[in-house]
Amino acid sequence: MNKPVVRLFALVIVLFGVLVAFTSRWTVFEAEALRDNPNNRRLLFEEQLIKRGIIRAADGQVLAGNRPLPGERFERRYPTGELFSHPVGYTSLERGRIGLEEFYNDPLTGRRNDAIGALERLLGPQKVGDDLRTTLSTRAQQAAYDGLGGRNGAVVALDVKSGAVRVMAATPTFDPTDPANADTFNRATQSLLAPGSTMKVVTAAAALDSGRFTPNSTVDGSNGKAISGTPLENFGGEDFGQVDLTTALTNSINTAWASVGEALGKETMGEYLRKFGFYEDPPMDYPDDQMVPSGEYGPRGRLLSPTSDQVDVGRMAIGQDKLQVTPLQMATVAQTVANGGVRMEPRLVEKVVDPDGRTIDEPLPEEAERVMSRESADQLALMMRNVVEQGTGTAAQLEGVDVSGKTGTAEVGDGTDNLWFIGFTGRFAVAAMLERQTGGTGGGNAAPIAAQVLQALGE
């Protein structure tokens, strides 16, 4: 009778093996899905027990802190309220998380995914999270909101050398303590708008860096010139005749730049768009679902390849037709030119600091790509300085410091315009955008905001 006993034990081993397999299934293989299950409130309750890390501005101002609740629990408080709600976001039991609260949730809750983290988990849960020191400037952020004055729009300012985000302002903003009623649409990273003439900076970069043009090349700035078979008007219907490239930028001559775009062709234009970071989510430390890629968009809201038949390359070169961009993307364009042609990844967080004050992580700075040669970038910067000194962007002038820039007034088609300004000094690059304004120009309305922000940043 011993053989059946052995077989019986073998069956018990199989059954226990099934138990181990199912336990592995829930604890390891399907653990992620179970944690994300909407019926699972454990994680939220557990996170209430954790004292989340504090988020600070570059000057030390607390942007997100904690208020104690009964039962050793904590609730988030946001001392700066609506001023920083777009970059910082919120964390809420009911609504989940957005912004930095979401992107840096692991360090903020003290979760570290390395060997030491696993060891610490064995000794009990981490009850205090790591702090974030952001790159955001309180003064400049305030200046941006003052400049926007409640009008729909956005301002983004980046550090030229590091890509650090100094300002990320978007109107309307929201109250982070009331997520249920918050309109969290972030116009700095999510709004897609025609960039208008600010796009000529990208076209000029392609023109100079491809070696096909120099700042002195002569182009045709006649009014009413046919572009892709349809006549194109200059701003105010002005006819410039034959001009050099610098003049064409200073006076923002549409027909001249559209012809440059056509001369370069879709291939070259597309190559430079991609180099500048169009056609992908910006590589910023911010949740992917709160950012959109810039580029040519088709009728159903889908990205079109720059070489697609539907692309009107001449009008794309002057930021019209199907081209749609975010203010963050245009700030990156300015930053790239200012940085000698090297695009930096935008960063909101300078360092992650543990409760004992040790720096755990410094996400800065990360070089994304060299977009153009230093020589081309310097030539382009000089052309853009002309715009501010004697062209459409004079409102961006600052005392004692050279400002380069480009204005944009993009027709929406319903009588309103999107007003743009992108520009830079030696240290900071900025993009300012006002959405669907009746009357006004990029030079007249957006440029002064940029100037105020640059000033608040110390220029």
Binding site: K3, V5, F9, T23, W26, N39
Partner: protein
């Protein structure tokens, strides 16, 4: 080294585990290590030592690892229950003292296992009566739709824990007598071996009882446990896989019929198949859903003893019945996959000792008894852990020696005592002419 000295040595890790476990919980809860944890460890060590001394005098040749393995399970359970509720742990410790008493009494009273054979019909009847006691109006208790408890005044217990032993004793004894006839009297029909109806009758009664259990007790898990134990015994006794197959088909048909007609069983199956259905995830399915969430929280290494979340901020239970049905979920949550596998490994080792005892036993009754008790013990672990991990529908049986509960502790100590009795006789070295060693 003698068997008993090995046993003594094997008790050391159990005591260390207990002390370390209590220390971990104290550190977690008060940030300071109090000497209470050491006191608990010392008392438990004392109890184990007393049990060991008792075995040294009464069953000197019994298996040396069963008692220490049980001690490991018991102290593990005590630590986890202590972490859930200090008061419950104190009660559980008292049950252990009583359990050890019953353990000693069983060994002293049943010195000769043949006593059990003599009273087999009485024992069988007692087992069946116990089984259906929870349906007796006035004293029966219904928990989660299943009838598993009995309450007389302040005392409440789960008679099914005891009846499983009674039924195994009866079956072992009955099959010892009839196994030859069952095998030899069989005819082959359409390639299937059919046992003679006359001797198969009582076994059909067992099948009927298992089906009745489904109807009356309404618990798929415990009827699976009983019927599984029965099939295991039948297989060991006859070595005929066809009997087991017939049994499984019959049980499957019965269970399928019940699941499609008895609404309570049907609900259980629906919840098992789709625990997150919004229709019941906050009601009947809450238990299994929360069990899975708690396990997912544990991951590979767990949150640490005492660190898992049992209650939400408003006091709502995040692991219902954490000390009984869902204790395995608590363990997985706090000690992770690694800790849970360790626990299953201990059960597997204990089952191995049980089956080894069955193989060493020289007479058929002892062999069948040891195999049956080991099988039903292992099946009980499978039914409750399988329920908690959604292998099968969740039912209310206890995790032996780990779950809180007097009936479970007492019954399983009796089970252990019987296994050790078989083992002592089987391993006793040859003495004179009466020497009988079945195996080398």
């Amino acid at each position: 080294m003698s068997a008993r000295n090995r046993e003594l040595l094997a008790l050391v890790p159990a005591s260390l585990l207990l002390t370390a476990g209590f220390a971990a919980i104290f550190i977690q809860e008060s940030e300071v290590l109090s000497d209470v944890s050491l006191t608990y460890g010392a008392i438990f060590l004392g109890l184990c030592f007393a049990g060991h001394l008792f075995l040294r005098f009464t069953l000197p040749d019994a298996d040396p690892y069963m008692f220490p393995l049980t001690a490991v399970l018991a102290c593990f359970g005590l630590v986890v229950i202590y972490r859930i509720d200090e008061e419950l742990a104190r009660e559980q410790a008292q049950w252990f003292v009583l359990g050890l008493g019953l353990f000693a009494a069983t060994i002293l009273l049943v010195r000769d296992l043949r006593v059990l054979e003599r009273y087999r019909y009485t024992i069988a009847l007692a087992g069946l009566v116990l089984l259906f006691l929870p349906r007796v109006p006035g004293i029966g208790q219904q928990v989660n739709g299943a009838y598993l408890g009995v309450g007389i005044g302040p005392i409440s217990f789960q008679p099914a824990e005891f009846s499983k032993i009674a039924i195994i004793i009866f079956l072992a004894s009955y099959l010892r007598d009839t196994r030859q006839v069952l095998v030899q009297g069989s005819r082959r029909f359409l390639g299937v071996t059919i046992p003679p109806l006359k001797h198969f009758g009582p076994l059909l009664v067992v099948w009927g009882a298992a089906m009745l259990m489904l109807v009356f007790i309404r618990d798929l898990g415990s009827s699976l446990m009983y019927f599984g134990g029965f099939l295991a015994l039948l297989y060991v006794a006859t070595n005929r896989l066809s009997f087991v197959t017939i049994g499984l088909v019959l049980f499957g048909l019965g269970a399928w019929f019940m699941a499609s007609t008895v609404s309570h069983v049907q609900d259980r199956v629906d919840i098992w198949l789709d625990p997150f259905n919004p229709r019941w995830v906050e009601k009947e399915g809450y238990q299994i859903a929360q069990s899975l969430f708690a396990q997912a929280d544990g991951g590979l290494f767990g949150t640490g003893l005492g660190a898992s979340l049992l209650r939400g901020p408003n006091g709502e239970s995040l692991i219902p019945a954490p000390h009984t049905d869902l204790i395995y979920a608590v363990i997985t949550s706090e000690l992770g996959l690694v800790g849970a596998c360790g626990l299953i490994l201990v059960y597997m080792m204990l089952a191995e000792r049980g089956f080894r005892t069955a193989m060493l036993a020289s007479d058929s009754f002892s062999k069948l008894l040891a195999a049956g008790l080991s099988a039903v013990f292992a099946l009980q672990v499978f039914v409750i852990v399988g329920g908690v991990t959604r292998v099968i529908p969740l039912t209310g049986v206890t995790l032996p020696f780990v779950s809180y509960g007097g009936s479970s502790i007492l019954a399983n100590f009796v089970l252990l005592a019987l296994l050790l009795l078989v083992s002592d006789r089987a391993r006793r070295p040859a003495r004179g002419a009466a020497g009988r060693r079945g195996l080398r």
